[in-house]
């Protein structure tokens, strides 16, 4: 009896033991109040954000990481930005600055390494600005050649050299104060301005904010912590008085950056997945008490993970003032969130532990996908004018994304059906029946949301450019999902497929959905396409291949399935019943 309570409590306590130290502010040995420095609001890429975000996004862009490792020391992004903006001289080498000698750029392409005179044996892929700048002539020449080719027709090398050139320009723009627009409008009718421009035309001295910013940088360059901390505090007070909203949001964003809710949620999803898988194994080994106790533990951890995931989504909504899905990154985060929610519903209805497993697995995978989509820089970028409509973003986009989520969930359940059925003996008839019901129910839900979402998209298009349906690739992608779901439903109603047929078709739904979600963007056609990377194409093909393999497994003759219990239901009855629409 006691394990019913003890196991879940122990599971949650373990999770909290991991979580709490991560969320607490990290003590630093630095005397500089860099946390406060990071909260300074600036305007970059059209929105107001804290310097902390600028620092993290820039490092993500340059090297795919938010911290720098140098001689075994971990340097936070904001410290690097302080070094860069203050042009602090390197103590080791007075002819250069600290920032320029840190290895922040990651370069992997062999031809680029060759250009930089690095051989593969050296295993070097991180470079400092100084190291790259030494090759500026070669880089400029190569980039110049590549720029003459139309952007869409550039080869991998050309794309990368242009990328490297852009990266270096970005670095230089930062160090010259051209970006971000750091000087705030302290009176009405003013706009944000870049500090660099004001230093050039000499107006920086007479502007209170610009002078104050310069004082901060000077104090940091001189490594005078007392002066630096006072200057930052003064500056924050100054902007708070005139831009209270922006300052508050920038402060919250800094906190959000530090908390990394999606990272911690994904860690907890792994934990919940292990617990629930273990619980499921125990059920099959007929240890019901332990299985149930562990299952409850898994749900408890999942609730915790979902809670953190939710906080992350709500924070983004607050910071952006937008519905949850605004770009590819946020769609991945949202798909995971919806799948977890649907997983809870399934678990509530069936109590088999499968809903928990699916929720935890999809929650984790989608957050990993989101993380990999974030390397492009700011994940809260501004919207194109035509997309600037909270009403349609919150109806059409949310519906479509929920449709994606449900289709992926159905696909995951289909995979579960196939793998358990073919490889293990644990797919007992009642369990198989329940799984098949889940798949069916989720597909019905997916069909509803996808259809409504697609038509709402059409109505939005009618509202914004007078064409309900333009046969644009993204629209077609959405239509493919709807048609695919309708095929599954009608094939089932017509008894053309049985349990395992629905499972196999649901797995194919994963391919159709990933095509609509990512593949259509890769075509580079249409009004909906976002920018895209090569590695995404690779991952999509890999994913599609894996799904095809699972489908092939599912189509093995039913006599080869190790779960013998499901043979009867999936075999053709000698006289097929007359097809009816009411199933």
């Amino acid at each position: 009896m006691r394990i019913r309570l003890l196991v879940p409590i122990a599971a949650v306590v373990l999770a909290l033991l991991y979580l709490v130290p991560q969320l607490a502010p990290r003590p630093t040995d630095s005397q500089f109040d860099l946390e406060a420095f990071g909260r300074i609001p600036v305007s970059a890429e059209g929105r107001i954000k804290p310097l902390d975000t600028v620092a993290r996004n820039t490092l993500m862009r340059f090297g795919g990481k938010q911290t720098i490792r140098d001689d075994g020391r971990k340097i936070p992004a904001i410290e690097w930005l302080a070094d860069l903006l203050s042009h602090r001289t390197s103590p080791a080498n007075p002819s250069t600055t600290v920032a320029a000698s840190l290895p922040i750029f990651r370069i992997d392409h062999p031809d680029l390494l060759d250009l930089l005179g690095v051989t593969p044996e050296q295993k070097k892929n991180r470079f400092s600005f100084d190291e790259l700048f030494a090759h500026r002539d070669a880089i400029t020449r190569q980039a110049g050649l590549a720029f003459q080719v139309d952007a869409k027709k550039r080869g991998p090398y050309q794309r990368r050299i242009v990328g490297l050139y852009d990266t270096l320009s970005r670095y230089i723009a930062l160090s010259r104060y051209d970006t971000p627009y750091a000087v705030p409008p302290l009176t009405a009718n003013e706009q944000w301005r870049p500090l660099g421009e004001m230093l050039m035309d000499g107006s920086a001295g007479s502007d209170e904010a610009a002078a104050s910013l310069t004082a901060i940088f000077n104090a940091y360059a001189a490594q005078n912590s007392g002066e630096f901390n006072d200057a930052v505090a003064d500056y924050l007070r100054l902007v708070r008085a005139d831009l209270p909203g922006a300052t508050r949001k920038a402060g919250y964003e800094t906190l959000f950056n530090r908390m990394t809710p999606f990272y911690h949620a994904s860690a907890l999803y792994v934990y919940a997945f292990l617990l629930s898988s273990f619980a499921f194994m125990l059920t099959s080994l007929s240890k019901p008490d332990w299985a149930r106790a562990l299952g409850r533990g898994a749900i408890a951890v999942l609730v915790l993970a979902f809670f953190i995931h939710t906080i992350g989504i709500i924070s983004r909504i607050y910071l952006q003032g937008r519905p949850p899905v605004t770009n590819l990154y946020s769609s991945a985060v949202f798909i995971g969130w919806i799948c977890v929610m649907l997983g809870f519903v399934i678990e509530k209805l069936f109590r088999l532990g499968i809903g928990t497993i699916a929720a935890a697995a999809i929650g984790f995978v989608t957050l990993v996908i989101a993380h990999n989509l974030s390397s492009g820089g700011d994940t809260m970028e501004m919207m194109q004018a035509v997309l600037d409509s909270n009403f349609w973003l919150s109806t059409h986009v949310v519906c479509i994304t929920i449709g994606y989520s449900a289709t992926f969930l159905a696909g995951f359940l289909g995979i579960t059906y196939i793998l358990l059925g073919v490889l293990t003996p644990v797919l007992k008839p009642d369990r198989a029946k329940a799984l098949a019901r889940m798949i069916y129910g989720v597909i019905c839900f997916a069909a509803l949301m996808s259809f409504v979402g697609t038509v709402l998209g059409g109505i939005w298009a009618d509202q914004s450019w007078g064409r309900f349906w333009g046969w644009d690739p993204k629209e077609n992608g959405a239509a493919l999902i709807v048609i695919w779901l309708l095929i599954i439903l009608h094939a089932r109603w017509g008894e053309m497929v049985r349990e395992r047929g629905v499972a196999v078709l649901a797995v194919a739904g994963n391919i159709v959905t990933s095509w609509s979600w990512f593949g259509t963007n890769m075509l580079g056609v249409g009004l909906h396409s976002y920018g895209f990377t090569d590695s995404a194409v690779f991952w999509m093909l890999t994913f599609a291949t894996s799904q095809l393999a699972i489908m092939a497994l599912g189509m093995l003759p039913i006599a080869l399935w190790r779960s013998t219990g499901v043979r009867a239901i999936n075999q053709r009855s000698p006289t097929p019943r007359v097809a009816t629409t009411s199933a």
């Binding site: 194109q384 064409r467 109603w493």
Partner: protein, 389 residues
């Protein structure tokens, strides 16, 4: 009757048709990498049959995949799906509350298919470009062109004769018409063209025209725009004007030239212009102000808006309207959308659409949503009740 209807009404037929639709939609998407969206829509989705090349399904790096397949187009599939759906409900029609949701859903789908059909047949799109402070009373359809011959001699109006571009494209020999003051022979027709300035064109290219702007600039054929470019074709033609005694001169007519050129035939002056097909309206729109806001420090558009004055003496209308993104103006069966702008933000481009079927998707969406909610909701509640028992 029922016996005959049964195969047409079968779910198996539904699944086959839906599967074919998937292939068609996929092919129609992939085809847009190399062809314009409108070509694809006409060839794939609004045609009875389409020849799908196998090459489509391979990346462009693997070239020369031979063969293809003749495939039912969107028109055929839409029609068959509709027949299948209607037949199914005829054969199995039996009203019960359990089936009400399904009935409503399918009715909504029929409305949607009809809507797309009406759009395909009846929708008209045009663009209205207006400079700030200027006005316009016509739209241009940038998917087709016309050659306009303008006779300015009547004192109170211009006498305009137009020849549709399709006629120029297929013209053999001289085009003559009693309404035309002279004959026209098409020397070369270019569905899409590139314009070469005086320094870029070779003397031979400039010699192709004997008079007018074509002696300073030349046009060469260009590949037709694809869905990827998101641009439209800019046609051009070399035309020779003929009077009773023979050729008067060869001119370059192209939509690249935004102003008409003067031509003199038989001592009389005319204007000649190849322009996007115009349709004139009973109302006039004046552009008072065009705004194009950007996000601070970026080139990214934050908003476009056109403040216009709508004047229609035939309906006693004279009012100001602000047209901006996601906020079109609906007037006299037409809808005006903020579509684009002129270089340097000097004017606006409005998309003007007349689509008698525009309401149908709204109706369909409502029906399908209600229908599916009823259908699946009923199932879910039955299921949950059984589960709790």
């Amino acid at each position: 009757m029922t016996k005959w209807l049964k195969p047409i009404a079968s779910l198996r037929f539904t699944v086959v048709l839906l599967s074919l639709s998937m292939v068609l939609v996929l092919a129609g998407t992939l085809a847009q990498v190399n062809h314009g969206v409108w070509t694809v829509v006409d060839d794939y989705f609004r045609s009875p049959l389409v020849y799908i090349k196998f090459q489509l399904f391979f990346p462009s790096t693997i070239q020369k995949i031979p063969g293809g397949i003749l495939f039912p187009g969107g028109l055929t599939l839409g029609l068959l799906l509709m027949i299948n759906l209607l037949a199914a409900h005829l054969v199995r029609f039996r009203f019960t509350w359990k089936r009400a949701g399904s009935l409503i859903t399918h009715f909504g789908v029929i409305v949607l298919i009809i809507g797309e059909f009406v759009t395909g047949v009846a929708a008209k799109e045009g663009k209205m470009a207006i400079f700030e402070g200027g006005s316009s009373n016509f739209t241009e359809d940038n998917r087709s062109v016309e050659l306009a011959i303008i006779d300015p001699s009547p004192t109170d109006h211009d006498r305009v004769t137009v020849i549709p571009g399709s006629k120029l494209a297929g013209a053999r020999g001289a085009l003559t018409d009693p309404r035309l003051p002279f004959g026209i022979r098409v020397e070369q027709w270019m569905p899409n063209s590139q314009i070469l300035g005086p320094m870029q064109a070779t003397p031979d290219q400039l010699a192709r025209a004997t008079d007018g702007l074509g002696t300073q600039m030349a046009a060469t054929p260009a590949p037709q725009a694809t869905g990827v470019d998101n641009k439209n074709d800019l046609p051009a033609a070399y035309v020779t004007l003929l009077d009773d005694s023979g050729p008067v001169g060869t001119y370059l007519a192209t939509v690249w030239f935004t102003q008409p050129q003067t031509v003199t035939v038989g001592g009389k002056q005319y204007y000649l212009q190849l322009r996007f097909t115009r349709s004139y309206k009973p109302y006039t729109i004046h552009l008072i102000d065009f705004k194009h806001d950007k996000f601070v420090g970026t080139e990214m558009a934050r908003n476009y808006s056109s403040l216009v004055r709508l004047e229609d003496p035939s309906r006693n209308v004279d009012r100001q309207v602000l047209i901006y993104m996601n906020h079109p103006l609906r007037y006299a069966g037409e809808t005006f959308y903020q579509a684009s702008f002129m270089e340097g933000d000097t004017g606006t481009v409005l998309q003007v659409v007349r689509n008698p079927g525009w309401m149908l998707p709204y109706v369909s969406c409502t029906l399908v949503t209600v229908g599916m909610l009823m259908h699946f909701g009923l199932r879910l509640t039955t299921f949950v009740r059984r589960q709790n028992r």
